[in-house]
Structure formats: structure tokens, C-alpha cells
């Protein structure tokens, strides 16, 4: 073994990453070559130094908190806080079947405009990702206002449609603001509502027809997503709220539409 080889392989030896034969060869070389032995000792000393916790940065508590808040908890120990999560966890085959059955029914009833389950699943993932991003990146709102007459005009000129904006404060779902977002390759209105400590994002953009449809899509990671078509608007709601509460909220949105 040459010194050039040994100077690379001694690292594999140091890290326990060589096979037995290679390990022995390097070992032998180090024992016979004072220069490589000295270098190996230096490398070993450095590796020991770097293990010191002093060289580790700890994540700031605020960052941890922000990420924890944005990603809903799902361990069983905290299931009490989200009663519906485990309860509504239906077998995979059923979860496949239900949206598909609804899709099939819609295909029959509202003939020309059907959204396939695959598209819906993709949109649901996008909507969940936008929801999580809005909570994480401290960019929940562009316009923070509980006044629907402030929020609605704010969208003027920013979108080529005017989303219906309603406050449901008396029903326990106060409007807290709105922002522009981007879903399905187009700018959309995002309305932000609150229920207790839970945030609900409502994404809206115009749809081709004006039929009313409803679909509940349960997505990964314990978020609940519901989709409505109301007053010509494609309307997606996402939250870590339990299913019953989100259903109640969806009903409010539908009633106003």
C-alpha cells in the first residue's frame, strides 16, 4: 500500500467502514510508516474533538414550536386532543372505494364536469401542503382582518374573480384574514378562519359549472380536507379540526353560497 492510498483509506479504517482485509492492510501500513502513523493520530484526535457537544447547534425552541404546531400530532397518547383522528382512520380499501364511489355518482348526476379521484387526491395534497406552509412560514395572512368588508375588497385587482367572503363568528368560526395562494397552477383566494386554536384555510377559485357537489377527502398525516362547489366556486377546506367540526364549518360555507 502506498502512502497516498493509506492517507485516504485510514479514514475508512478510523470510521470502521472498511472490510476486514482492507482494514488489516491499512493497519499494517500505519504500523510501519511513521508519517502515516502521525497523520492517523492527528485524525483520530480531531474526530474525538468534534464529538464534543460544544460543536452542536441546538434548534431554537421557537422553531421547534412552529414546526410542531404546523404538523398535527398523531401519537395515540395525544389522540384525546383530536378525537376523530384515529376513529375515522378507515381501512385503505374503503378509503379508496368511497371517493371513487362518490366520483362515480357525480359522473352520473352532474355529467360533464367530474373530477377524477386522482386529480382530487393531487389537489388535496396541494391544499394540505399550502395549509402547512401557511402555518410554518409565518405567512398565514396578507390581509389580517376580521371584517369581511375589508377582506373581500382586498382581493380586487389581485384575482380575476371575487371570492365570497363571510364571517361566521357567531357560529364559532371567526374570519381572521385572507391571502393569495397558488393551487393547481393558478392564483387562488385563501380565507383564514379560526375555531378555538385550530386554523382553517379555505381555498377558492372559480369552477367551470355552477353545480353543487361535496366530497370529503381524508388525507395523510391527520389533516381533514373537504371540497365543495358552491356558487361557481371550487372551494377546498383544510384543517386539523376534527371531522365533525369541519363538517359543521362546510355546512356554513354551503349555506352562504
Amino acid at each position: 500500500m502506498t502512502c497516498d492510498d493509506a492517507r485516504v483509506l485510514m479514514h475508512g479504517h478510523l470510521d470502521g467502514e472498511l472490510d476486514l482485509a482492507g482494514d488489516l492492510e491499512v493497519q499494517q501500513h500505519i504500523e510501519q510508516c511513521p508519517r502515516c502513523a502521525s497523520e492517523y493520530a492527528a485524525m483520530r484526535a480531531m474526530r474525538t474533538r468534534l464529538k464534543d457537544v460544544a460543536f452542536r447547534f441546538e434548534a431554537p425552541a421557537a422553531l421547534k414550536e412552529k414546526i410542531r404546531r404546523a404538523i398535527p400530532a398523531s401519537p395515540p397518547s395525544r389522540a384525546g386532543a383530536y378525537p376523530s383522528r384515529r376513529g375515522t382512520w378507515v381501512p385503505r380499501a374503503v378509503r379508496f372505494a368511497v371517493p371513487m364511489a362518490i366520483g362515480a355518482m357525480l359522473a352520473l348526476i352532474v355529467a360533464p364536469r367530474t373530477i377524477g379521484p386522482a386529480l382530487n387526491q393531487r389537489l388535496a395534497s396541494e391544499v394540505v401542503a399550502s395549509h402547512v406552509r401557511s402555518l410554518m412560514a409565518a405567512h398565514l395572512m396578507d390581509v389580517a382582518s376580521t371584517d369581511q368588508h375589508t377582506v373581500k375588497p382586498w382581493f380586487n385587482g389581485k384575482l380575476d374573480f371575487s371570492p365570497p367572503v363571510n364571517d361566521f363568528k357567531k357560529d364559532g368560526f371567526p374570519l381572521v384574514g385572507g391571502r393569495l395562494d397558488y393551487i393547481d397552477g393558478r392564483p387562488v383566494a385563501a380565507l383564514v378562519y379560526q375555531h378555538g386554536k385550530h386554523v382553517i384555510n379555505v381555498f377558492m377559485w372559480p369552477t367551470a359549472g355552477d353545480t353543487t357537489s361535496a366530497e370529503r377527502i381524508e388525507t395523510e398525516h391527520g389533516y381533514h380536507v373537504e371540497q365543495l362547489t358552491v356558487a361557481g366556486m371550487n372551494c377546498w377546506m383544510v384543517s386539523d379540526l376534527n371531522q365533525q367540526e369541519l363538517d359543521r364549518f362546510a355546512e356554513l360555507i354551503r349555506a352562504k353560497g
Binding site: R7, F55, A59, P60
Partner: protein, 180 residues
């Protein structure tokens, strides 16, 4: 359609590794605020792609995402070549030929080690942080950086060599004023 039968419990699987994620991001982008942005972005990506997690060490998986997010960030915000020039100026030339002594490494204090690490190129700093501070295996580093395992070892050899030499120079410079 994601394979839901393998859906992982994101909270329990990945949240405990936030310190490791931040540590790697902090060393790679060398700024607290930027590192926080990188970690958030990485967790968001991890959350979206958790369906792609097929077992293995979740820490290595999230660190690979942090690593790639950080490098994308560096490329976008700082351009990737400047540290290399800097590094060659500091560590180039004949010092490569001088022998290394474990003594110099032992004498170096924390601030010196930190400064020497900071001055390495991103690629060299990356392997040292992933291997020596985070304790990832060559295979895990190779997967994260998308290079062969042999490249990990040779890069690590050069990175550690530069770091040790830099420490030796710093110790030597510190001695000069004392001897005068």
C-alpha cells in the same frame, strides 16, 4: 395515489430529529435565521414526501432532505463557488506537504475549531458535519449527497486533512507573538 398502508407517523418519526436537522442546516448555511428557514422548508418537504420514506433511519432521511434543501438555498442565495477560492488561498500551497501532528489538534480550542470548520468549502464542511458531528455512515452520506461511497471517503480524507492543517497553522500563528 400514495401507498397509505406504509404511512408513517410523521410526528413521532421525524419531529425528534429537529435538533440534528437544525445543526446540519446551521453548519451548512452558517446563519441562524437562514438555517431556521432551511429546516422549515426541509420539514415541509419531508411532510409532503413522507410517503416516500421506506424505512431505514429516519434521522438520515430527514438529514438528506435538510442537506439538499440547504444546498439549493446556498446556490440560490450565495452562489456556490466563492468559498472554494477562499479556501484555496488559506489552505493551498506547500502546507499540504507538511506532516500532521495530533498535538496541534489537541491544543486547538473550540473557537479555533469552529473558525477552521467555517472556512472549509461547503462540500468539505458538509462531510465532516455529517460524519463527525452527526455520526452518519458513509452509505447514508453517499445517499444524501448522491455520490459513490468511495467519494465520501476521499472527500472526508481531504476535508479532515484541511481542517487539521488549518488548526496547525492557527496554533503556530498563536505562538509567534508569545515568542517575541
Amino acid at each position: 395515489m400514495p401507498d397509505e398502508s406504509k404511512a408513517v407517523d410523521f410526528d413521532r418519526t421525524f419531529i425528534p430529529h429537529m435538533d440534528a436537522a437544525y445543526n446540519l442546516a446551521r453548519w451548512l448555511v452558517r446563519d441562524d435565521h437562514d438555517a431556521q428557514d432551511v429546516v422549515q422548508e426541509a420539514y415541509l418537504r419531508a411532510f409532503r414526501f413522507a410517503g416516500g420514506f421506506r424505512g431505514g433511519d429516519p434521522r438520515a432521511w430527514i438529514l438528506a432532505i435538510v442537506r439538499n434543501t440547504a444546498f439549493t438555498w446556498l446556490k440560490r442565495n450565495r452562489g456556490s463557488d466563492s468559498p472554494t477560492e477562499f479556501d484555496e488561498k488559506v489552505h493551498g500551497g506547500s502546507s499540504e506537504e507538511s506532516g500532521l501532528e495530533a498535538d496541534a489538534v489537541r491544543k486547538a480550542d473550540g473557537a479555533m475549531i469552529r473558525a477552521a470548520l467555517d472556512e472549509l468549502t461547503d462540500e468539505f464542511r458538509e462531510v465532516i458535519v455529517m460524519r463527525d458531528i452527526e455520526g452518519l455512515s458513509y452509505k447514508e452520506i453517499a445517499d444524501a449527497a448522491e455520490v459513490p461511497i468511495g467519494t465520501v471517503m476521499s472527500r472526508l480524507a481531504r476535508a479532515r486533512g484541511k481542517l487539521a492543517r488549518s488548526l496547525q497553522e492557527r496554533i503556530a500563528q498563536e505562538r509567534i507573538p508569545k515568542e517575541r
